[in-house]
Symmetry: C2
Subunit: 198 residues, 2 copies
DNA sequence: CTGACACGTTAACCTAGGTTAACGATCGCC
DNA sequence: GGCGATCGTTAACCTAGGTTAACGTGTCAG
């Protein structure tokens, strides 16, 4: 079986959801993508690292997190298959990333180097359009999360999490979910108990 | 004096901070921009409205806010001169906005209709690049705010607000600042008292 | 000038969630 | 098999911030 080829098709389908990309460009791009396997608990990008690659998740599950001044672990987002993965601003600006990206499950990625990314952007403006639409989506995602913090309590945020990420509940350890909700594992345990009793 | 022309130059300077835009395109764009004055407390865009315009702030101050299920007022962001202003996702997708944009001071804008925006985007890919970079910046801004909610208490968020928006403290009523921090005016008053005593 | 109203402050009380610690359960690993 | 280490739960206690309400001040309309 041609594994790599099926992966490229998987990514292609996702790219085309955003905008038209000529076959010629897709082919050029396909030549740049490198297969990467990340074991469970290993890091795709670490804190302080200047990221030189972005990825497209073929399978598996990641979490993006950082460590607060008090040494507490806070999760920004979870990402599974068919999503792009990068320490975005650090990648584009060539600065050290303040957050890490860790595999929660054994995962497979297609990777693109910064160099190739820049080549793509210069070669055809369709990539510019793609990135614009993609970042717009990221922005809207963050707006929703901001809204959650501004006007929902932890229990409501937990319910929102459950419904926006169906199935993640079983794949993600509870203390990581707490870390994503901005509460302690103890508090999440209490919330689950209370909700279960309704 | 040619007021309108000085406004256009002001916007041009801001546009060029993001990327190169050919003079020809700047001239085309200048022809599309319409002057709009918004009185204090009036809305640039209201909740539920399908926004048909975006703006560039020449002078004044706005806040972007929504109303929670419990009828509480929550502020997403404040914006002053030299920033672009829109209910972004709603503008692009043609859907009703879930938040409103209100002038806190008498303000002056240059406005662009959705139609002209789309024309610009199709006419030259430099606008695509501009929007991509601009949204990237918005995204990074939201990431910082997310980080605040995840790992800072209200007093720290207040201090962060003071240092990231110098001068806003005097221009914005305190209950709007509380609304931005995600706390009640009472809580903000307590925090200010405690901080003042140090 | 005056009454109404919007705004900030303060106090008293309440609640969601943090902190610490103890206790099982599970899962490697030797 | 046993022995830690990691994870979730529960309980006891603590604190930041919410809620309500009272009070002062400034502002503006009449």
């Amino acid at each position: 079986m041609d594994e790599r080829n099926s992966y490229l098709l998987q990514m292609r389908a996702e790219l085309l959801r955003y905008c038209d990309i000529p076959d010629e460009e897709l082919r050029r791009n396909a030549g740049m993508m490198q297969l990467l396997r990340v074991e469970k608990n290993r890091y795709f990008i670490d804190i302080g690292e200047v990221p030189d690659k972005m990825g497209f998740i073929i399978s598996g599950l990641f979490r993006v997190f950082y460590i607060t001044e008090d040494g507490i672990d806070r999760t920004l987002v979870f990402r599974e298959k068919n999503h792009f993965l990068s320490a975005f601003s650090a990648f584009l600006e060539g600065t050290p990333s303040w957050y890490a990206i860790q595999a929660i499950e054994e995962s497979v990625l297609l990777c693109l180097t910064l160099q190739d990314y820049n080549r793509m952007m210069e070669h055809n403006s369709c990539w510019n359009t793609f990135v614009r639409k993609y970042v717009e989506e990221l922005f809207i995602e963050k707006e929703k999360r901001e809204r959650g913090f501004l006007s929902e309590d932890a229990a409501t945020r937990y319910l929102t999490f459950l419904s926006s990420y169906p199935g993640f509940e079983e794949r993600i350890p509870q203390h990581y979910i707490a870390s994503y909700l901005g509460i302690t594992p103890v508090a999440l345990s209490r919330i689950r108990k209370k909700l279960g009793k309704i």
